[in-house]
């Protein structure tokens, strides 16, 4: 099984991933306080009809964020 790093925005619907790091400081601060922290498992559970924003399951609740915000989250898939 491959173990690869990518941006959360590339993770497909229904796929799980492990948060590794952030590439954007400003947005990371907001995501961190919402419980989206490195080591946490996230799962893409919904994509808005127009492809953007997406909704993820994190820390036991549903969080919606835009694709470009998701692209600042580096995640590890197939762990």
């Amino acid at each position: 099984m491959s173990n690869q790093l990518c941006a959360l925005s590339e993770v497909k619907l229904g796929q799980k991933a492990l948060v590794e790091s952030f590439t954007d400081y400003e947005i990371s601060l907001k995501l961190l306080e919402m419980g989206c922290i490195p080591g946490e498992t996230v799962e893409v559970i919904r994509v808005a009809p127009l492809g953007d924003p997406i909704a993820i399951a994190v820390s036991g609740y549903m969080l919606s964020l835009r694709k470009d915000e998701a692209s600042s989250i580096r995640v590890r898939t197939s762990f």
Partner: protein
């Protein structure tokens, strides 16, 4: 012994904080299941009697929901300002942190921050019914020990745990002294300097102040101190963002450890939750939009159809009252003032209560259930194209009820440009004050036919609301291209679990809103009605006497009783009255859009508040009308003739021109005042006044010129 204390309620959005507030104070406010609807700070009082005869008088403030003490949007600044400044007038003696028990990790994060401020804290773990049904178990004794604060489990919406919370309020009077995080070690020099120079409660308090220096106002800190602290932060390489990230990570690590000791959870995938299943339909790529449009359609249809019977009853009741007054009191000026001024004015206010109540009822349900945040999720991509944010949809939708609270709810939008644009375009949404105007005019010029089983008038009403929305998007798009901004746009938002609406709260909310309309708007409408009656019942100099003289002479000449000329006398008097003169002055400007001087009077009076239009029309058309009491305003307007064409005055062209004018014109003093307060610049309300009024005139002009016979 009596003790007076100040309590602040703090918590994540959707933690049920406002429900706790309502249960404690019995003073009701709007509570909505969307991040940050509690924008106006509601305060209330609560008296707690102890078993030992002691009494605690608590003044409670409900702070906007927030995820941390670092403000990320204008509305999140308030918790920081209040809690981090011990000299603030509303700095609390006790904080109740309301935490959602089904999401303890994120909720305890904020709780631990508040506890580190060294203020007395009660931790209310809410929604215990849902915790229990999920099969989770919380060891409250252990949690209390770990958190260092009194813990009260509750289910606020069922009133469970309320007694225990009140008892805790009476008992907790000092901070537990617990420090979760050693924030001093992250920036010792800066924290020490602030503790020395500024009144703060704890190391963490000082740390937060250093991190948000730009939010500390001049009155709270001298320039010397500010410069000194700024120098220190520079000297010590105090990187606010990096330290905030570090604090957040360490805090979450702590909380995770606590939770392992205190909570046994059965983790269930979100996909099994009922909210996820409902979302499969409500955010579906086709059904999501179909349902959203259907919801809007049903709302407007019901407003129009359900409200019509009570409205007719109110109108008939007033007609009966009018004829009673007219026949009981001796004829004369008092009789005229009561029927033509006072009663006509009150009728014009009361008749719209059914529709306004229904509108607020539907908006409250959409917010309270959590559906509104799904609507932003569906619409964000679209809204972004217009320089707006998915979150802009909440102000826009609430703007259908009233622009003033809607403008306040823009505070959840973090990006300044998006927030400004939302502020500028929200008043284009058709608010409930336009409803009376629409109702009257639609009933007047649109036939009462049915189209595929739906009321044609209802469909036109919905189109009017749609036009307002489209105009708002168009204006937003123009402003998006005019305004410059380098600031990032920002969305990240929780999708809360769906909940059943809290009927009691919604009911009280409607009563509150109707009362505001009845008394606040009603006062203005009534006052203007009476002034208007005076302006239209009297004229300058002896003009009225001359008219009477003229017709008296004519009557003698033609040898018929002067009463035969009554209608001509009255309409000539109105034209020669003060109001008539005013109307004539602006007539040249409004003639191209199809209005005469009578409508001109209504335009002038509705400048301050558009709902005055109907009252004005009913006063103008009651003055001197002998059959005034027996005819409704609609009947009077239908009978009105255009002296030039000889046909009806209110043709489709005039009606549509008026409808469009009222849809777009900025005719609300309160809105302008609120925009000024929110933007802190006179430029914005002025631009708003001119662009909206220009749009109104232009669209009225186009409609009238295209449609006029």
């Amino acid at each position: 012994m009596e003790r007076r204390i100040k309590i602040a309620l703090v918590g994540n959005p959707n933690s049920g904080k406002s429900t706790v507030f309502n249960e404690l104070t019995g003073l009701h406010q709007k509570i909505a299941n969307f991040p940050g609807v509690t924008v106006e700070q509601h305060t209330g009082k609560c008296t707690i009697k102890g078993d030992d005869g002691s009494i605690v008088q608590a003044e409670i403030i409900d702070l906007p929901g927030t995820y941390s003490l670092y403000p990320k949007s204008p509305e999140e600044e308030l918790p920081f300002r209040l809690l981090c400044n011990p000299d603030h007038a509303m700095h609390p003696d006790l904080v109740i942190v309301v935490a959602d028990g089904t999401n303890l990790k994120r909720n305890l994060f904020l709780s631990s921050q508040v506890i580190d401020l060294n203020i007395p804290v009660i931790l209310a773990i809410n929604m215990m019914d849902m915790v229990r049904s999920s099969g989770a178990e919380i060891n409250f004794k252990e949690l209390e020990k770990r958190m260092g604060a009194r813990v009260v489990p509750m289910t606020a919406r069922k009133g469970e745990g309320l007694k225990e919370l009140k008892a805790a309020i009476a008992e907790v009077d000092r901070p537990a002294g617990k420090q979760h995080l050693d924030s001093r070690s992250m920036a010792p020099q800066v924290v020490d300097a602030i503790r020395k120079n500024l009144h703060v409660n704890s190391d963490y308090n000082a740390f937060l102040v250093a991190n948000n220096l730009h939010l500390i106002e001049t009155g709270e800190m001298s320039d010397e101190h500010r410069t000194a602290i700024l120098d220190l932060t520079k000297h010590n390489a105090f990187d606010a963002q990096q330290l905030q990230a570090r604090e957040t990570l360490e805090r979450y690590k702590l909380i995770s450890n606590y939770l392992q000791e205190c909570v046994r959870e059965k983790t269930r995938p979100i996909q099994q939750s009922y909210s996820y299943k409902i979302d499969s339909l409500l955010t579906h790529r086709i059904w999501g939009y179909v349902i959203f449009l259907a919801v809007l359609f049903i709302i407007f249809q019901s407003i129009f159809t359900w409200a019509s019977l009570p409205m007719e009853l109110i109108d008939e009741g007033f007609n009966w009252l009018n004829s009673k007054v007219q026949s009981t009191l001796p004829p004369g000026i008092l009789n005229d003032l009561l029927v033509g001024g006072v009663l006509a004015g009150i009728n014009g206010i009361v008749v719209f209560i059914p529709q306004i109540a229904l509108l607020f009822f539907f908006i409250a349900i959409l917010e309270d259930t959590g559906y509104m945040s799904r609507v932003s999720f569906l619409m964000d991509r679209l809204m972004r194209g217009f320089g707006l944010n998915g979150k802009s949809l909440i102000p826009l939708m609430s703007g259908v009820a009233c622009a003033v609270p809607a403008l306040l709810s823009t505070r959840t939008i973090r990006n300044r440009k998006e927030r400004m644009i939302t502020l500028m375009v929200t008043p284009l949404m058709s608010c409930s004050a336009r409803l009376p105007v629409y109702t009257l005019l639609v009933a007047l010029v649109i036939p009462g036919d049915r189209l595929a089983g739906f009321s044609l008038q209802g469909i036109v009403m919905m189109l009017l609301y749609l036009i307002g929305f489209i105009a708002a998007l168009g204006a937003a798009w123009v402003m998006k291209n005019l305004l410059k901004s380098t600031e990032r746009s920002y969305y990240v938002m929780e999708l809360p679990m769906y909940r059943l609406p809290r009927w009691k709260t919604i009911g009280l909310h409607i009563i509150e809103k109707v009362r505001i309309f009845l008394f606040d708007a009603g006062k203005i409408i009534l006052a203007i009605s009476i002034i208007l009656w005076m302006l239209s019942s009297f004229g300058p100099g002896d003009s009225f006497q001359r008219i009477e003289q003229k017709y008296a002479n004519a009557a003698i000449q033609k040898n018929i009783p002067v009463e035969a000329f009554e209608h001509d006398i009255q309409s000539e008097k109105l034209e020669q009255s003060y109001a008539g003169h005013l109307g004539h002055i602006i007539e040249p400007v409004i003639r191209p859009i199809g209005y005469d001087w009578k409508i001109g009077i209504a335009l002038i009076t509705s400048f301050a508040a558009r709902e005055v239009f109907v009252g004005t029309m009913s006063t103008i058309y009651s003055v001197g009308d002998q059959r005034a009491a027996q005819r409704t305003l609609k009947e009077k307007l239908m009978a009105e003739r255009n002296p030039i064409t000889g046909g009806p005055r209110y043709t489709l062209a005039v009606g549509l021109s008026l409808l469009l004018f009222y849809a777009f014109a900025m005719q609300c003093m309160s809105t302008l005042a609120t925009v000024y307060r929110e933007t802190k610049h006179i430029k914005y309300p002025l631009i708003q006044l001119f662009y909206m009024s220009g749009l109104a005139y232009l669209s009225g002009l186009i409609a009238y010129q295209l449609l006029k016979p």
